[in-house]
């Protein structure tokens, strides 16, 4: 579903944020991307989502290069950034309907999907209000709903649990598992290692732009906890 081939990204000024990254995520995988602040997680995620331009390497989504046919790739992915800045001038339902129009979801399907996910995240009553009036958590919920309504094959989330209340976090985890069972893949970054350990079947640890560990969760952590493995890698830097 997702194949990252020799991906590198160097920012103006010479800082290499990501260095020759290679990894593959298959349908049904829940992949946890772990790393300290500034390790290159968000850069990688933004490149996969087609938000960040890059020159070196390639990213293939369902076999299609994001560089060569970005529209086709974006049609099957959904992306939620770490700080979901949504259009303040729209209402919640206005934003969801906008996304529905862009992804050309039929009216009946979008009404059903909005109903399902808005109820799951307890946001239905707020959908008529302006996004400007939303709290951070409500914006996060709305961004998640907008990502789910077009049934993405690849869901990319950057720190999805930040700002969510415990109930919404649990709802999201359940939905993530449900999505993977239906054949989608999930790529998400997190600092909550316990969540990654429990939820993910694959883990990748990035450090200073380089992938230092990658594979099935059990293989990466071995007999230790993910936290111990992560700390060990950081300290032996």
């Amino acid at each position: 579903m997702l194949s990252i081939v020799n991906f590198s990204k160097t920012y103006k000024g010479g800082k290499k944020a990501v260095d020759t990254l290679n990894l593959d995520i298959n349908s049904g995988d829940i992949f946890g991307f772990i790393g300290h602040n500034g390790a290159g997680k968000t850069t990688t995620i933004r490149a996969i989502a087609g938000v960040l331009d890059f020159e070196e390497g390639d990213i293939l989504i369902d076999g299609v290069s994001i560089k060569e046919d970005p529209v086709k790739c974006k049609r099957v992915i959904a992306y939620i950034p770490d700080n979901p800045d949504l259009y303040d001038h729209l209402t919640g339902i206005g934003y969801l309907n906008f996304i529905g129009d862009i992804y050309e979801i039929s009216r009946v399907d979008r009404e059903q999907a909005i109903k399902k996910y808005a109820e799951a995240f307890e946001l239905t009553a707020n959908l008529g209000d302006g996004i400007a009036s939303y709290s951070h958590g409500m914006k996060q919920k709305l961004a998640i709903i907008s990502a789910l309504i077009h049934s993405p094959k690849l869901l990319i989330l950057d720190e999805p649990f930040v700002g969510l209340d415990p109930k919404a976090s649990l709802t999201l985890k359940n939905i993530m598992e449900e999505l993977c069972k239906s054949g989608s893949a999930i790529f998400f970054s997190t600092h909550v290692l316990l969540v990654a350990e429990k939820l993910c079947n694959k883990i990748g640890i990035i450090q200073d732009g380089r992938l230092v560990a990658f594979g099935p969760t059990q293989e990466v952590k071995g007999d230790s906890s993910l936290e111990d493995v992560f700390m060990e890698l950081i300290e032996t830097k």
Binding site: K12, G13, R46, A49, G50, V51, L52, D53, V71, K72, C73, K74, R75, Y79, P81, D85, L86, Y87, D88, H89, L90, G92, I93, G94, N97, F98, G100, D101, I102, Y103, E104, I105, S106, R107, R110, E111, I114, K115, A118, T124, A125, N126, L127, G128, D129, G130, A132, S133
Partner: protein, 525 residues
């Protein structure tokens, strides 16, 4: 006071940093902006000198040259007043870093004072650019004593204070009234447009024939003195050297500033809280949704974004409003009464296309339509739509804003009984020039994007893209005029102008498809 100055300096640096890309490796673009800004200063101060000298000569003939400084001071004050009203929302209320500023250990009055001083700093630059050339013109015409220059320069720093306070007062009332409505921005904009139109129409009720120049000056001076007594004080102080008048002017300005800061400080938090939180009902029930095509969805989203920004609408919608109202006015106003009995209908007919070009040039929304995405840019960059569709949506919004100009051209054609071929050419010119400005604005904005702004004013009024767009618009009007003069025939001039526009439109389209697409892909916040 130290805290207030610190707050102002931080905010000013934020604006200047955003404008001149301070601290970023954009030397080429920054240089272009410096050149643009220098050009702006030269043109504005040159125009000010020209008008001051011409009016001064007229006044000197009637022995009223001493009216010149107070007349210019009053005019500058009025311009400051009217250009500041719509900046109140966005600077004093509803500004982006409100949460951060409010969490600092400073009083509300100090924050208000810092925001007012921010408006003051921006306006002071304008006052200096306009008033200094006037001083030179007055000096050349009247040869005043050295104290005129000393007092005039000292007073430059106090001229903007009272207009800013009056504008802020009106802006506060407008904000307070409009926030009670569901579509508060629309109400706010309607009030602001009405105020501006009243300001433009007012001089016509006073009459404006050449013979009445001194009378007008005296009438204006008298009226301004009666509604704005500081004008009299300014005149007494600067031209007569009355020190007491100068002192009263300064004390009144500073006291008003302090009192206003304290008064607004009382309602500052309440108004901002209401604006920031918006309307919150939490009673929505899912209902049948309407679906649209992706292009229509983008278009509606962009159109709503446009109307959500007061500063954006006020700066790019005014030309079209004037165009429409001017066209309607032609049906009710006899041109000869405006021109002092001279029948210049023929000249007006020839000049009408220039007026249309100028108004359309001031209505370029695309020069900021990429930058306005700001921190939301990730949304459109992540959507499964082509870059060209995103461009098309932004161009369509611009064309929608200019669309009333098309109706105006037909209306004007009927009212002034312009021959059919000329109306047709005017229509073609309006369409092709609108498309040109929309495409050109987008090309410029893609070349000079600013996604890290904290105040919309920066991208709409103070950015490289907006400066280039304004100058290019004026340049195109000049080219049209030169074509008209060179060919000596309105029809041939228009035809050539349309052909040039068609070629330019094609070149701009090619540029958008090739370079524009690549520039958009590189955008990142």
């Amino acid at each position: 006071m130290k805290k207030v100055i610190r707050l102002v300096s931080v905010q000013l640096w934020a604006i200047l940093g955003s404008m001149f890309a301070i601290g970023e490796s954009k030397k080429k673009k920054t240089k272009a902006l410096y050149v643009g800004f220098a050009l702006f200063v030269v043109i504005l101060s040159g125009a000010s000198f020209f008008y001051a000298y011409m009016i001064g000569m007229g006044l000197k003939l009637y022995g009223s040259i001493d009216l010149l400084p107070s007349l210019f001071m009053a005019l500058t004050s009025i311009i400051v007043l009217f250009t500041t009203i719509h900046k109140v929302k966005g600077t004093l209320f509803g500004f982006k870093d409100y949460d951060m500023v409010m969490s600092l250990p400073v009083s509300n009055s100090q924050i208000v004072a810092s925001r007012l001083l921010l408006l003051y700093s921006i306006n002071l630059v304008f006052v200096i650019i306009v008033m200094l050339p006037m001083m030179v013109a007055y000096g050349l015409l009247n040869g005043p004593r050295i104290q005129f220059y000393v007092f005039s320069i000292l007073m430059l720093f106090f001229i903007p204070l009272i207009p800013i306070i009056i504008a802020s007062f009106l802006g506060t009332i407008l904000t307070y009234l409009s926030m009670r409505f569901k579509y508060s921005n629309i109400v706010y904009m309607a009030f602001s447009f009405l105020l501006l139109i009243a300001m433009i129409i007012m001089p016509y009720f006073l009459g404006n024939s050449e013979q009445a120049l001194v009378e007008i000056s005296q009438i204006i001076n008298g009226q301004i003195n009666s509604i704005y007594p500081l004008s009299e004080l300014y005149s007494m102080g600067v031209t007569k050297g009355d020190l007491l008048s100068i002192l009263i002017f300064i004390v009144v300005s500073i006291l008003s500033f302090m009192v206003f800061s304290m008064a607004v400080g009382k309602v500052f938090k309440r108004i901002n809280s209401t604006i920031m939180t918006g309307r919150y009902r939490a009673n929505y029930k899912l209902e049948r949704l309407k679906s649209s095509s992706p292009l229509k969805a983008l278009y509606i989203k962009d159109l709503k974004r446009y109307f959500a920004s007061i500063i954006y609408v006020m700066n790019t919608g005014f030309g079209v409003v004037i165009l429409v109202l001017g066209s309607i006015a032609l049906a009710f106003v006899d041109i000869t009464t405006i021109t002092g009995g001279l029948d210049i209908t023929g000249t007006i007919r020839d000049m009408i296309p220039l007026f249309f070009t100028f108004c359309i040039a001031t209505s370029c929304t695309t020069m900021a339509s990429i930058s306005i995405e700001g921190r939301h840019i990730w949304i459109i960059k992540n959507l499964p739509v082509s870059t060209l569709m995103i461009f098309a949506s932004k161009i369509l919004v611009n064309l929608t804003i200019i669309a009333p100009a098309l109706l105006s051209s037909i209306f004007v054609g009927i009212i002034l009984q312009i021959p059919f071929i000329s109306v047709l050419l005017l229509l073609l010119a309006v369409v092709s020039f609108s498309l040109f400005m929309a495409q050109y604005g987008l090309v410029i904005n893609l070349s000079f994007p600013n996604l890290s702004w904290s105040n919309e004013t920066v991208i709409v009024k103070q950015s490289t893209a907006s400066l280039i767009s304004v100058f290019s618009g004026i340049g195109m009007t000049a080219i049209q005029y030169l074509l008209l003069m060179a060919l000596g025939n309105a029809v041939s001039g228009m035809l050539l102008f349309i052909i040039i526009l068609l070629i330019l439109n094609l070149l701009l389209y090619k540029r958008l498809v090739k370079d524009g697409k690549r520039q958009f892909e590189k955008l990142s916040n």
